[in-house]
Symmetry: D2
Subunit: 396 residues, 4 copies
Amino acid sequence: MSGLRLVTAGESHGPAELCVLEGVPAGLRVEATSIDRDLARRQRGYGRGGRMDIERDCVRILAGVRLGRTLGTPVCLLVENRDHDSWRPSMQPEPEEGWIVDAVTVPRPGHADFAGMAKYDTGDARDILERSSARETVGRVAAGSIARLLLAEVGVEVRGFVRSLGGVGLSIDFPGLDAAEVDWASVDTSECGCPDPAVEREMKDLVDSARLSGESLGGVFEIWAWGMCPGVGGFASVGDRLDGRLMGAVGSIPAIKGVEIGMGFAAADLPGSGVHDPFHAGLGAVVRPTNRAGGLEGGMTNGMPLILRAAMKPIPTLMKPLASVDLRDGSEVSAHKERSDVEAVAAARVVGEAMVALELASAYLEKFGGDTVGQFRSSVHVYEAGLEERGLWRRS
Amino acid sequence: MSGLRLVTAGESHGPAELCVLEGVPAGLRVEATSIDRDLARRQRGYGRGGRMDIERDCVRILAGVRLGRTLGTPVCLLVENRDHDSWRPSMQPEPEEGWIVDAVTVPRPGHADFAGMAKYDTGDARDILERSSARETVGRVAAGSIARLLLAEVGVEVRGFVRSLGGVGLSIDFPGLDAAEVDWASVDTSECGCPDPAVEREMKDLVDSARLSGESLGGVFEIWAWGMCPGVGGFASVGDRLDGRLMGAVGSIPAIKGVEIGMGFAAADLPGSGVHDPFHAGLGAVVRPTNRAGGLEGGMTNGMPLILRAAMKPIPTLMKPLASVDLRDGSEVSAHKERSDVEAVAAARVVGEAMVALELASAYLEKFGGDTVGQFRSSVHVYEAGLEERGLWRRS
Amino acid sequence: MSGLRLVTAGESHGPAELCVLEGVPAGLRVEATSIDRDLARRQRGYGRGGRMDIERDCVRILAGVRLGRTLGTPVCLLVENRDHDSWRPSMQPEPEEGWIVDAVTVPRPGHADFAGMAKYDTGDARDILERSSARETVGRVAAGSIARLLLAEVGVEVRGFVRSLGGVGLSIDFPGLDAAEVDWASVDTSECGCPDPAVEREMKDLVDSARLSGESLGGVFEIWAWGMCPGVGGFASVGDRLDGRLMGAVGSIPAIKGVEIGMGFAAADLPGSGVHDPFHAGLGAVVRPTNRAGGLEGGMTNGMPLILRAAMKPIPTLMKPLASVDLRDGSEVSAHKERSDVEAVAAARVVGEAMVALELASAYLEKFGGDTVGQFRSSVHVYEAGLEERGLWRRS
Amino acid sequence: MSGLRLVTAGESHGPAELCVLEGVPAGLRVEATSIDRDLARRQRGYGRGGRMDIERDCVRILAGVRLGRTLGTPVCLLVENRDHDSWRPSMQPEPEEGWIVDAVTVPRPGHADFAGMAKYDTGDARDILERSSARETVGRVAAGSIARLLLAEVGVEVRGFVRSLGGVGLSIDFPGLDAAEVDWASVDTSECGCPDPAVEREMKDLVDSARLSGESLGGVFEIWAWGMCPGVGGFASVGDRLDGRLMGAVGSIPAIKGVEIGMGFAAADLPGSGVHDPFHAGLGAVVRPTNRAGGLEGGMTNGMPLILRAAMKPIPTLMKPLASVDLRDGSEVSAHKERSDVEAVAAARVVGEAMVALELASAYLEKFGGDTVGQFRSSVHVYEAGLEERGLWRRS
């Protein structure tokens, strides 16, 4: 096996969420505290409801790490669900004789409930919603944290911000030539994950009014990754293309309804001369004055920053519930209320960062191999030195 | 193995393009002529250049089919490249001693050339562009043709149309409740793959003027699939989610820069009550008056038509070539011209249909199993009868 | 995804061993106590050393099971390593500043130590041996326990026994026509996993004398599976063949040096008429008076019991240690002693059962599909009824 | 993707056999003639029947190779079935209206016929036997030929010989320390693939008498691979273990009933001191005076030659046919005769070489990465230099 392979498991109110990440080279420094920082970022956000406070996720490293360094073996990261005990017996793994557990019989529009109840032939939507819940992404973020550490070893960084919330958003498009175009420090301190404090204020106002009116909101987040040399990914086989892989990875995050790279949908409306990025002779390497492609050409990194946007639909559980049907008897009722976030775009952005980091790290490992971080790094350096020598690219 | 597994091979001017499709059940009626119809659709389009006339792709079935029916074994479909002979010796597999083949040393912006030359350490972009070419999609379309036949056995149909071309497009959004909303007959006869003749005329005018000015165009196509019962796909594992799988599959088509499902990016700007599709009690089954989700909830089909849009960037080879650099000596030059299509959105839509059909057929096979079409169909029918009995869904 | 997908994680003296099993249909009754029974069987055996007493593995179900039934989501089974605390700080995941952990610098012949130290560029064999340890098979056995439950739903049972130990073994070959040929009750009570009490006594004598002389022993175990209808597995693709899949699965168990099916190596020495199993007309179905093929023909089950044997090499850690080299300085020394089992063939047999059960259950799921146990079982029944009607096979 | 991925397709009397091999690095010199040499070796052998003469397989390279060098793209190798035309209409892909094709209704013991007819719900065994035929291995051998070329780039060679035929075999066991122990030149010229001319004469006599008596024979072949550095393969995940991977790969060859590595089953009968290979201090590197492990420890190469044996059952089609049942009416009849080889162990050995080469090459690529042969080779060299420096291993 080469590349990373991720498995997650866990029900939202079951004993725990966890992930197993295979393929991490040996010798990577990993500490629980740095993973916890990403988990905390996943929990924050202006529009989050009450459960976030209860949980404060903390990872326990169960496998694959010894004395602060990976062993090259599967890494298992476990996050206990702190409120599991209060969900007994409903969510306990053990059978409960002589106890009737209330079934959730009204599917919530926009959730997996209805299709899941059809699929799994169950009258209790709880059998579905516990796993289809966005809480599953805890495992992805934890694994993504490892992927980020690995990418950092070869000079690659992945970050994201919220571009718009419920229609309120940044009015400018960044050229995408340099990571410094975005004010990442502001992103980090923003409760909405937004780099522009003025826009953030508007976003918070919108959240406040949505909360009052029992509404929910969605938004668009943007992920940047930079420091990648050209040639990661590929076009030889359908599954090599990094565009498809990244769209698939980010598109697998619950509530994501669209993904675009670089100019994305806007590219479809312009003539070729306004879309493609010309090459020019630079000092010692080819340079490109634009990055409209968003860092990918022909299914590969092209040496420019990767820029990807994803659209998140509004949280489907509204305090002003939508019409639904009780599947026990077919009567029309209001949908069940399971959660009370108004929006979670800043959190989804953290999941997006994780998915992009996992996919990039995997593509790097597939290209460069290496059972240890040292071997991996050394292969990358030899390759990058070759590019530099050929005048194709140089690390800035 | 369950589900479909696709491999394609072939260089654009090499001997042939081909695909091997594993996992097709036995007993499916397959004929070369019906595959050829899809291949012809892939070649057509108002903006196509001269090569399309030369080629007229015809498939040869090499394996997996006996006397017009699949055997359950890998299906191999081969399309000879008719102009291969005129590309000798440059593109022949055999070594050519004492013959100097001209190298392509100027990477074309927007293509795989530059990143590929970096990746594969070659000074000749022909080593790259022959495989990164969109001609690779011949194999996908041929395989998709088999997937469509399989889906037809369980009442599922997949079709697509061009929604916009270079910014000229349909002004309305279809409700997406019924396939009959789209005038598919007009789509079929349209040179631009557009259901509205008035819009098509505008599109053709735009193509004409782009051709005159040496420009190229992109556009947006929309794929519909209907007849799927709810519960295909899943949310148990990251890779089960049909949203991500479809975005990944369509996003792996060359030149696609964005994919969205249902309302897509527009959903990010609206409040929850304007996005989610309520349930109502219908005659014998739950009904939904809207399909803003585009047929997927929780990573699964929800019983409504699937609606997916993809953005294609303009063809990167412009007759008015973009600035580039000759990598032999670093001098600034104009990019190499390999092809002369002005646009190929209608063709890309056919590839999109194929990728959606392959992914849906695979998800169906994973859920229902079956080594023969009869076994597969029978499992689907038993499941659908159960949904009907439970009042969840009925085939219209 | 269809079929089962297994991931295990855990270091021998790390916090825990665990597995995640994806693809289990919903509605399967699972209880920790029945998994614990298999884990206990894995720990028993006449030749085991002291650690087995310390551990007494108990599983904790972390995911995929609600109120005693699977949800169709990934099942996670965790077994804490009870002696982990006494291995701090050496085996803790957290970094330990200012503390020197003793390195294991002498590779043990027959273990992963040497090749692993080369691979992972480490001077401490503990980085290797903690994961290469047979304790990794805890996760396989726990997962196998789920696979057995699933197989039981369609009338398939998997069991194994020890055929020989250090050269002492059963002198007869069972015809393999009927599971009742083997005295499974004796196997269960035997400390050596052997169905013949007289042979078992010999085996124990051999273990006793090996223990005295500081030696270790290997042996051969035999796995039977019965109740499978013909046609599970396949020949369409290389990876479909159940022979290869089973040999690969059992051959991946640490210490296994050979695997054979049916007559196995003996078949190579006989003429065709002495190896192949003729067909005869029976009452309502074809019958076969012999099962020399061991239940597989053409990569598929053929309706007869599956019979598979595997050779386990002697435990590589001897109390009378083998010659080795200290890799710190190249000096010749005696190998490190990590464990003190004399033999573990009965335990390896339990792992073998698990691997066979996992592979068979996966092949069943791939063929029959089904998101719930009910759907799965129903597809199997429809298929089996068809075979019966065609006079090909009937469940006895 | 990293590592090799092989797909084969083709029916025995259909238009062609072919393979697609993904993951081959760019820049590997490949010529059809060298592949044809391996294909010819697969067709030879003292016990082969008449069809071998008709066919004389010749490969046509359809994709992945330009001017004698791989491109890094999928390699497609096609072998036309020369007698396909004489099998029309029975084996043509096109439907044949108004023509009745004779069905094969009597399953042959030892073949896929019976289980396949059950699986695919067909009354015509030809639907089964065309693909389950050993002719499928043409594609494996062609792909294996590419794998060998790649391994040769890093100093690894794979070869095999026939150890025994119908019980007649070599009486000695090679120490396995050095490839020169086997007289490979004699193997190459032997019609039975046997290194000892005296034994070969006995084998031929046995074949002659088997032919006279209408019998068929099986045998044991042995594959050696040498030049591998230690640390290829792994133990981190179940699927990393090279033992299991190799047993699975060789066990997937039709007619193989057992696979063993190193001492194999003999190791199960001996005490640990007689099985494990001690380490000694050598000149500049650790040395081992024995290779009873057969080159694998802990799922990895250990720097010694890999030695693997496989048992092939006798050809199941006998000229003196076995009893069977006509499935049309249930009457007892003699089995259908499709082929007339007496034995094909020398040929199966060539397939075994191919499967071992593919698996080793894949494990190498997974460990070392590299999009070009140069990058791949350079990673291997850096790693091997490190081993040498650490005194662990040196290339002899």
